[in-house]
C-alpha cells in the first residue's frame, strides 16, 4: 500500500540556523506513531511543516502523493491551540467556526467526545483550565475526518486519569485507515498504543522503528529512547 506521508530530503532554516536537516520519513496508513525528541529538537517544527504552516523549506512533503499545501491541509487535522479566538469566545462559537469552515467536521462525533470529556459548551476560553482546554483541542482535532492527525504535546496539562480516558477514546474513534502522529513527553502512558516510534535527534531523524521490534529486544520504549539520548552525554 502506498505511503500516507512522504518526506524527502527536508531542510528547514530559520534565523540563519538550521533547525531540521535531511529529513526523510515515510508513514503508512492506519498507524499510531510517536514523535520523540528533546525540547527544541524540532518536533513542533516538523509537524508544522507537514501541516503546511511552516514554509520556505527545501525538500518534498507529500500526503498521498499530493504536495500542494491547500490539499494537504484538507486531510490533515493539527491540534491547534485556538490562539485565533479571543479569550472571551465561548466553546459553542468555536464549534460553529469549525463546522462552518471544515467540510469534514462531524458535529455528532464532537458531541460524543464532548460528553466523554465533560466539556461545558457555554464556557469561555478564559474560564477553562489548561487541562480542559487541551481536552477541547483534542475533541476538535478528532472530530474532523482526516487521514493524518498531528497532535503536538496534547496531554501536557491533563491529569493521569483523564489521559487514560482520552487515549482510550482515541483508540475507539480512530478510523482504521487514519494515522496519528503524537509528540509527547509522557512516553510511558501512550507506549502501549503505539505502532511505531520516530526519534528526532541532531536535527534529523535518528531512527524510525516499530514498537514491537523494540520490545522483542526486551526493551521498553522509554529505555530505548533514553539509551539514544544517553549515548550522546558521556
Amino acid at each position: 500500500m502506498s505511503n500516507l506521508l512522504e518526506i524527502e530530503n527536508l531542510t528547514y532554516r530559520k534565523n540563519l540556523k538550521v533547525i531540521l536537516k535531511d529529513i526523510n520519513l515515510n508513514l503508512k496508513h492506519g498507524k499510531i506513531v510517536a514523535l520523540l525528541g528533546e525540547n527544541g529538537a524540532g518536533k513542533t517544527t516538523l509537524m508544522r511543516i507537514i501541516a503546511g504552516i511552516n514554509k520556505n523549506f527545501r525538500g518534498m512533503v507529500a500526503i498521498d502523493g499530493v504536495q500542494s499545501v491547500a490539499d494537504r491541509k484538507r486531510v490533515i487535522s493539527f491540534s491547534d491551540s485556538l490562539s485565533g479566538f479571543k479569550e472571551s469566545t465561548k466553546v459553542a462559537k468555536i464549534i460553529n467556526f469549525y463546522e462552518y469552515l471544515y467540510d469534514d467536521f462531524d458535529k455528532n462525533k464532537f458531541k460524543q467526545l464532548q460528553k466523554f470529556m465533560r466539556l461545558n459548551e457555554n464556557l469561555r476560553l478564559s474560564e477553562m483550565s489548561k487541562g480542559m482546554r487541551e481536552k477541547l483541542i483534542i475533541a476538535l482535532t478528532f472530530s474532523r475526518q482526516a487521514e493524518l492527525y498531528l497532535l503536538d504535546e496534547p496531554f501536557s496539562g491533563i491529569d493521569a486519569m483523564a489521559r487514560k480516558k482520552i487515549i482510550s477514546s482515541i483508540i475507539l474513534w480512530k478510523a482504521d485507515e487514519a494515522t496519528i502522529l503524537i509528540s509527547d513527553h509522557f512516553v510511558n502512558e501512550i507506549a502501549s498504543m503505539l505502532d511505531e516510534v520516530v526519534v528526532v535527534k541532531d536535527k534529523t531523524i535518528y531512527c524510525h522503528k516499530s514498537t514491537e521490534e523494540i520490545r522483542e529486544n526486551n526493551q521498553s520504549i522509554e529505555e530505548f529512547y533514553e539509551n539514544i539520548y544517553g549515548e550522546g552525554d558521556e
Partner: protein
C-alpha cells in the same frame, strides 16, 4: 458555499462586529460634542448658547455626526488593519484548507467590504438625522427647500460636470483605503520576514519598530524628493475631501485638474497592484503563523 466564501463571511462578521461598536461610539461622541457645544452650565442648569447658531439640537447633531464620519472612518480603517494582522498571524486561520493567497484575499476583501459597510451605516445615519432635522427644525427646512429649488446651485450642477468627479473620487477613496490596508500588511509582513531571517537577538520587538521607522522615513524622503509624486498623492486626498464636502457649500470647479486627477488614480492603482502582489508573495512563502503559546 465554497470555502473562500465561508471564510470571507466569517471574517466579515468579526470585523463588522467591531465596527458596530465603533458606530455606537460615533453616535455617542457626536451627541456629546453637540451637547457640549450648544449648552453651557450656568446657575445650576444648562443654558443654550444661542450665539453658536439658531438650528435645533438634531440639526447640530447631524452636522457633528457628519464631521465625525471622517475621523471615525480613519479610526475604523486603522482598527480593521490591525485586526487583519491578528488573523494573518494566527495559526487557527492558516490551518484552514485554503491557499495562502486565498486567505490573504479573503482577509483584505472582508476588511474593505467592512469599511463599505461602515460607510453605509454612516449614510443611513446621516439620512435619518437629515430627515429628522427637516421635520423638527423649521429654519433648517426653509434652507433646504431654497437650496433644492434654486437653479444655479450645487445640487443641479451635481448631475452634470460633477458626475465624473464624484465617481472618480469614490474610486480614489477605494484605492486609498486598499492602499492603507496593503501598506500595513506590507510593513508587518516584510519586517517579520526579515526578523525571522536574521539571527535572533534580544529585543525583537524593538528591532521591528526600528525597521518600521526606517521604512516610513525612507518613504518620506522619497516623497519629499519627488515633488510631482508627492503633490499627486497629496492632491487627490485634498481634492476628494474638499470636493465632497463642497457639495453643500458650492465649490468652484477644478477644470484643469481633470488630467492630474486621472494620473493620480492610475498611480494609486499601480501602487495597489504592486503591494498586493508583493504581500501575496511574502504571505505565501515567508510569513508564518505564530507558534502556539
Amino acid at each position: 458555499m465554497s470555502l473562500f466564501n465561508c471564510c470571507f463571511t466569517e471574517l466579515f462578521k468579526l470585523k463588522t462586529k467591531k465596527l458596530n461598536t465603533l458606530m455606537l461610539f460615533q453616535i455617542l461622541t457626536s451627541m456629546a460634542i453637540t451637547f457640549f457645544s450648544l449648552y453651557k452650565f450656568e446657575n445650576n442648569h444648562f443654558i443654550r448658547n444661542t450665539y453658536v447658531n439658531d438650528f435645533n439640537f438634531i440639526t447640530n447633531w447631524m452636522t457633528s455626526f457628519f464631521f465625525l464620519v471622517l475621523a471615525f472612518g480613519f479610526i475604523a480603517v486603522c482598527l480593521i488593519a490591525i485586526f487583519a494582522q491578528r488573523v494573518n498571524r494566527s495559526q487557527t486561520w492558516r490551518l484552514i484548507p485554503m491557499s495562502s493567497t486565498n486567505l490573504y484575499l479573503d482577509n483584505t476583501l472582508s476588511s474593505f467590504v467592512s469599511i463599505v459597510y461602515l460607510g453605509i451605516l454612516d449614510v443611513i445615519g446621516l439620512l435619518l438625522l437629515f430627515g429628522m432635522s427637516v421635520l423638527t427644525d423649521s429654519r433648517f427646512k426653509k434652507n433646504v427647500i431654497t437650496g433644492f429649488s434654486s437653479p444655479s446651485n450645487a445640487m443641479s450642477q451635481l448631475f452634470n460636470e460633477r458626475a465624473f468627479k464624484i465617481w472618480g473620487s469614490i474610486l480614489l477613496l477605494i484605492l486609498i483605503t486598499l492602499f492603507v490596508f496593503f501598506v500595513v500588511d506590507f510593513l508587518n509582513f516584510s519586517s517579520r520576514a526579515i526578523l525571522e531571517f536574521l539571527p535572533t537577538t534580544s529585543g525583537q520587538a524593538f528591532l521591528r519598530v526600528i525597521f518600521i521607522i526606517v521604512i516610513v522615513v525612507a518613504c518620506w524622503v522619497a516623497f519629499s524628493a519627488n515633488n510631482f509624486l508627492a503633490s499627486l498623492i497629496a492632491f487627490p486626498i485634498d481634492f476628494v475631501f474638499s470636493s465632497v464636502l463642497g457639495i453643500f457649500g458650492g465649490y468652484r470647479e477644478y477644470n484643469d485638474r481633470y488630467v492630474n486627477f486621472g494620473i493620480s488614480l492610475i498611480i494609486m492603482l499601480v501602487f495597489d497592484i504592486f503591494l498586493l502582489i508583493a504581500n501575496t508573495l511574502i504571505f505565501n512563502y515567508f510569513f508564518e503563523a505564530r507558534e502556539k503559546k
